[in-house]
Subunit: 123 residues, 2 copies
């Protein structure tokens, strides 16, 4: 699969998991993984999973507008940059967001999220 | 200098150069560097410089709202995520943007831009 298709597949999988089975997101991270969520820094798969599960909304729907990706170096990683909007249950207004992932290949041919930075784009 | 201070210094330098001496931006990239600008992929310092210099406005001012950074791996690189707005000469409305950089250390103790992804955040 080419990098663009791979990154789109990852992004679809990530937000579909977020919206339908959020506790499973922790499995996409490892111990060294980092999340910066609206400026708050969290490290480690377990801590990142706990943060994502503690967000103050139970249901949401991510709509992806753009996905850009580039290889991140000789080791087979890639950086993925997403823009889109987020609808929370009971909220009329969409929240625009941008998010970047740095994906690192695993020995089994899959990827895990090493870097994750999320920001809402306030209007 | 800690990574947060380093990334803020880089971001200030990058946009100050963009706004006052755009032809010098090419010096921040190397031959393997990649830019994805609004979905268009460009590779190489010279080609990236040419693209940035060919943008259809001569004067602009970047205002940075947030800068987030994380180490990108054992080799000393870092990913930097910026949100802000952009004012073009003669335009009343500000353009919101997000941009990510993957910075790689050079043997002389400086950094160059390996990955650069830029997107306007349309309202």
């Amino acid at each position: 699969m080419d990098p663009d298709s791979l990154s789109k597949a990852f992004v679809e999988h990530y937000y579909s998991t977020f919206d339908t089975n959020r506790p499973a997101l922790a499995g996409l991270y490892q111990d060294g993984s980092m999340l910066t969520f609206e400026g708050e820094k969290i490290q480690g798969a377990q801590q990142i999973g706990a943060k994502l599960n503690s967000l103050p909304f139970t249901q949401c729907k991510h709509n992806v507008s753009t996905v850009d990706c580039q290889p991140s170096g000789p080791a087979g990683g890639m950086v993925v940059f997403v823009s889109g909007n987020l609808q929370l249950q009971g909220e009329e207004h969409l929240l625009k967001f941008s998010q970047m992932f740095h994906l690192i290949p695993t020995p089994t041919g899959s990827f895990f999220v090493f870097n994750d930075i999320f920001r809402l784009n306030y209007a």
